[in-house]
């Protein structure tokens, strides 16, 4: 006699135990420390911080360890943890001109005040597997030089001084917080940038790439890409002034794009903007291109039906935690729904015969 399927609870417990064992791998191999991940898989840590919307390298390293290196799973862990944190307030905008840069390049000028700093980049490495790393990962000490005074002016500032690039009107209004208010469309630029900043790197990259290939082409130059640490300051009402509460590593990308203007209106270049946690430059550049593509309406450009121009499409699908959750939920049982479709199809087949 048939007995309704039971044992969901035990199945889950067993699966979790197995998962924990697999995560650890062969116990004969030394366990990976979260400090090792933080130090030696720093770019993975950065991505988890950027898309997890939480600047905490140690927790990001823990999430990577716990998720067995599945970065979207790690981002998910960080997001869920973030939910439990109170929101104390908003910082005052970080001043990226005061960034301690470890990298700063401009594609639009050969040189500029502050200089070009390549920094720790893969850009000019030859992508050859370095078999020596299999045996021994010791690195020779890199040449050093004393840090220069911190203030590195923005390249777009030079263009702005001559009126060659559009100026964003400064505003003191606190932007809405995507993690505390539902996304409502149409969204303003601040909200779009938030969404892009925490959006999936692959998705944003693909969209940015599509603009380069002609789906809403916007002729982007990397005006400036800079990576470094910035002080975070917050107004403390009890004190009546702002104090530094810590520092964060950031990647900032400012693109110089397609100019607009006419015979009577002096043409100006337009901008795209990307800002992300950690050293995440692929993401920051992609973000700037997509930001620029989404601005077509405000800049009076045509909607050519390109995915990167479609705010609702981009913002609704950029979040990999939403995407992966919904995608993977089709693994859950759906037999009640399937049963009702089955009955329907049977009934329609009867009617058709």
């Amino acid at each position: 006699m048939y007995v309704a399927v039971k044992g969901g609870e035990r199945a889950i417990e067993n699966a979790h135990a197995w998962l924990a064992e697999e995560r650890r791998g062969d116990p004969a191999v030394a366990e990976l420390g979260t400090d090792q991940i933080e130090q030696q898989l720093a770019l993975a840590v950065n991505r988890v911080m950027a898309e997890g919307s939480l600047h905490d390298p140690a927790l990001a390293a823990l999430a990577i360890k716990q998720s067995r290196g599945d970065l979207i799973e790690a981002i998910f862990l960080i997001r869920a943890y973030r939910t439990t944190l109170p929101r104390l307030g908003a910082s005052i905008p970080v001043d990226t001109a005061k960034m301690d840069c470890i990298r700063r390049v401009s594609a639009t000028f050969k040189d500029a005040p502050g200089g070009q700093i390549l920094g720790p980049t893969f850009d000019y490495t030859h992508r050859l597997l370095d078999f020596a790393l299999m045996a021994n990962g010791d690195a020779p000490e890199a040449p050093r030089k004393a840090a220069e005074p911190a203030h590195v002016p923005h390249i777009t500032g030079f263009l702005g001084r001559d009126g060659l690039i559009e100026q964003e009107a400064p505003s003191d209004t606190e932007p809405r917080d995507l993690t505390r208010e539902p996304l409502e469309l149409p969204a303003d630029r601040a909200l779009r940038l938030q969404s892009l900043a925490r959006g999936d790197e692959g998705f944003i990259l693909g969209l940015a790439y599509s603009t380069q290939r002609g789906y809403a082409r916007n002729h982007a130059f990397v005006g400036e890409l800079r990576i470094g640490t910035c002080a975070v300051e917050m107004d403390i009402p009890q004190l009546g002034f702002a104090i530094e509460i810590g520092e964060v590593e950031l990647t900032e990308c400012e693109t110089v794009n397609q100019f607009k203007g006419s015979k009577t209106e002096p043409p100006q270049f337009t901008r795209g903007y990307g800002l992300t946690f950690g050293q995440t430059e692929r993401k920051a550049i992609s973000m700037a291109l997509v930001d620029r593509a989404l601005r077509w309406k405000e800049l009076g450009e045509d909607y050519v039906g390109a995915p990167a121009q479609d705010e609702e499409f981009v913002l609704s699908h950029a979040d990999n935690i939403q995407a992966t959750g919904f995608l993977e939920h089709i693994k859950l049982p759906h037999y009640v729904d399937f049963q009702s479709e089955l009955e329907l199809v049977r009934r329609m087949r009867e009617a058709a015969e």
């Binding site: 939910t83 109170p86 993977e328 049963q339 009934r347």
Partner: protein, 282 residues
Amino acid sequence: MNAPQKNTTEYNFAYLDEDTKRMIRRALLKAVAIPGYQVPFASREMPMPYGWGTGGVQVTAACLTPDDVLKVIDQGADDTTNAVSIRKFFQRTADVDVTERTADATIIQTRHRIPEAALTEGQILVFQVPIPEPLRFLEPRETETRKMHELEEYGLMHVKLYEDIAKHGQIATAYAYPVKVEGRYVMDPSPIPKFDNPKLSDNPALMLFGAGREQRIYALPPHTKVASLDFEDHPFEASKANHNCDICGAGDTYLDEVITDDRGSRMFVCSDTDHCRTRQEA
């Protein structure tokens, strides 16, 4: 699902902090005040994935008190893996009593079913909702569908039903069958089989719907009038498999079809496992 890494006692009662719960309760109040209207709310990331009941879990967390007795079902059953997982989550983060008995529960979180036993006044039924927008597959744009609701432009919904009949001879929607609430808002009842639709109307329990990924909450207060969309000459029909339950013999319950061997033998059993067991014990 990975276990939270902190000691569970470090989390607030039912995981969410009180500010978040207040925010959700405000949305719930608004939803109750405007039955069938989708209220945007700032859904949080939960420790289970989107699409796995995060909306329902947040609604349950916002409603739960230490004295509540919680029941969680998925596909009508208490023992399906996702139901187990969500029940354990609340046992761990809220330490509430749980039950499998519909009659004993004060809050029931459900995925895809309404229990067979009649609900009573004071009970809350929380639905997990994947796509809250009933017009979504006719019109993909949120800005446009919100306008359609605002202006009560529901002609398109009936075009879909018309097309079904023209093509299949009947309305070819078996679950997530759209309803109209108090003659105003068209609502997606979540993917319950249409067999369950009549239970939505004039139900003494409070029904709350949470869609986490889509950031929407909506509600049916007790005794709300809910009508399934149809045509006068093709009326709505709450259908089920034409069998009785092979275990308890019930002829009026929604049935799961179970394949029992590889020669195509099958049997039909109640999808609501508590209801089936209660009948066997009686």
